[in-house]
Subunit: 335 residues, 2 copies
DNA sequence: CCTTGTCCATAAATGCTTTCATAGTATCCT
DNA sequence: AGGATACTATGAAAGCATTTATGGACAAGG
């Protein structure tokens, strides 16, 4: 069943059928109805490949993320997929893992597949050197690139992000003011936003002259989901003689581990031990006491990202970089 | 840059270039090298749409799920995407929500987009009546359909699932034997696997003549993530006079709510109150004590599903239905 | 000299979009 | 009223970048 069959049955040319289908230019009501009737009756749908060939687009956006099963990334993907769909776009998903080579391979694959744009979900796509970010800069020569929670200054790449630095700075200051002096910073990612968060913590601590021991800044290198290993990491620190009565984590999972560590050490939370998470994920309300966490308005970010992308695809001038501020959601692990 | 440019530069016909690209039939080494060199030099990649038009496939599989941010579904999607990719297929993602109409719309959209197959992730796609399942049966006339954790007997649909009934039956029996008599079943989905799980619980309870009160089977109708509301639901039951000292949940989130409820009621867990979850998600190790949960070998299921799909696409006869057994992962909420 | 097989070019097919051309009709000006 | 002008509706045909069927040229073997 092709456009030719329809045109024949309706007694018009294929051009007219195409026009009816796309509403591109004027067709008389009578002709339109006749064509529509035949289409309806035959249950005809245009061949997507031929359509793609003609239009040079299939209205598809590539979504890349390191790991779609990560709680936070999964939420992001969900919102993005929904909003793309409501704009008439499909999304092809690419879980790249955390290696640079697979990321580069995936981005090229998406371009080969002729997506109209690519969204990079999560800050782990951005590296420190331009050399490493080359794969993004190059890709952006072909299609618009959108960065969620990251930032890269290059042509045709757009960033939408949360002000992690300020959120963390404020949150750290708040915890300090609440009376906790020895606050450990616990993070597991040196991605763009990871660095920014750490900087916020650092600024607050140094401002109050509390960063007495560099060991208070702790990088956790293990699996993102292995809560036991995280607890082990903290235990190790404690056994090595480091004293801390608060933990600010770059992520709710790490915060949760800190909370379990605190219970394990028989600290009363939050009276003797404070914990702050990041992302305000469902984990935050799953523990007891519930986790104070920083909400970075993921849905808002996604909404804005899609709006920007649609603008770019529509040929409009759009802002290269948009920053939203986060919010501390106070629950039971801080005072 | 088209195949014509390459053929011209290499001094061969476009057919030869295509043969080199696809290795379909014999090309002399000399010619092959010449063509490959030109391709390399020009950085040529074939146009995906034209290729799709010629081959009538773009090696793409549609993945449908109700909500990709659901912890369990997200894991499934992740595994499926990975395994598809390693088989040379891309995945287009469709988050449908839980309504029948949007599911039907999505499945048709995927077919229009000419995917080679569709994977339905999660049992919520299967309804009780054939009428409601019509959208799947019809879709399967166009492309092979794969069901993860569900079952439907129809041409061209294949099921890979965990034996939820037996898992639940065994787990319930185990909890009964451990001394808990008044076990509440807490579920939030009447999907295919939801029904099967409930049946397993029921069988065990009835076998021991313990299902004295129908209120022990409790459906929670609210949001899948709202732990507070779940706790509220349990509190309501308790206040209405229902006594229970164990909860078997159809899902780790519900189990977690039950655990928090128990703490709230100052029950000692597991001495005075037992909780059993399902899915063995990361939530299970995030709480304290950690949740005993049923692991249904998601990755194995996904692996098998993809193997089956690849077989079907390769034109092989494949099993219509495969069932794996689950496993109880004992942790701190049962004795 | 005929057959067989290898290598490759020509041409058709894939199913759509879009430009260009044209016939017909309506509007406007004198 | 008559012609110029403009606009609407439509068809013909030219892409778009591949794959594949067909068959021709040539070399080797009997």
């Amino acid at each position: 069943m092709t456009i030719y069959d329809i045109s024949e049955k309706a007694g018009v040319s294929i051009a007219t059928v195409s026009r009816v289908l796309n509403g591109s230019s004027s067709v008389s009501d009578k002709t339109k109805k006749k064509v529509l009737d035949v289409i309806q009756q035959c249950g005809y749908t245009p061949n997507a490949f031929a359509r793609g060939l003609g239009l040079n687009t299939m209205k598809t956006i590539g979504i890349m993320c390191a790991d779609s099963s990560d709680l936070y990334l999964a939420k992001g993907i969900y919102h993005i997929e929904q909003k793309l769909r409501s704009n008439g776009y499909d999304s092809i998903l690419c879980c790249t893992g955390y290696g640079l080579d697979t990321k580069a391979a995936s981005i090229n694959l998406l371009i080969t597949k002729k997506v109209d744009g690519i969204i990079l979900v999560g800050s782990n796509f951005i590296y420190e050197t331009e050399e490493e970010n080359r794969y993004i800069i190059d890709a952006a020569k072909q299609v618009p690139l959108m960065l969620l929670n990251a930032d890269l200054d290059a042509p045709n790449v757009y960033s939408v992000m949360s002000d992690d630095y300020t959120s963390m700075y404020n949150a750290a200051l708040k915890m300090i003011r609440s009376g906790v002096k020895d606050i450990l910073y616990f993070y597991n990612s040196t991605s763009y936003s990871g660095i920014r968060k750490l900087a916020g913590y650092r600024a607050a601590m140094e401002e109050k002259h509390l960063l007495s021991d560099e060991r208070l800044v702790q990088f956790y290198p293990g699996s993102h989901e292995d809560v036991c290993a995280m607890i082990g990491h903290l235990k190790g620190l404690q056994e090595s003689g480091l004293v801390f009565h608060g933990v600010i984590a770059s992520d709710d999972t790490l915060a949760l581990a800190a909370l379990k560590y605190a219970r394990n050490m028989h600290y009363r939370v939050p009276e003797e031990f404070s914990v702050l998470g990041y992302n305000n994920s469902m984990l935050a309300v799953c523990c007891d006491p519930e986790l104070t966490s920083i909400d970075n308005k993921l849905e808002t970010l996604c909404q804005h990202l899609i709006t920007t992308l649609m603008g770019v695809l529509g040929g409009n001038e759009m802002p290269k970089k948009t920053i939203f501020s986060g919010e501390i959601i106070e629950r039971g692990t801080t005072r």
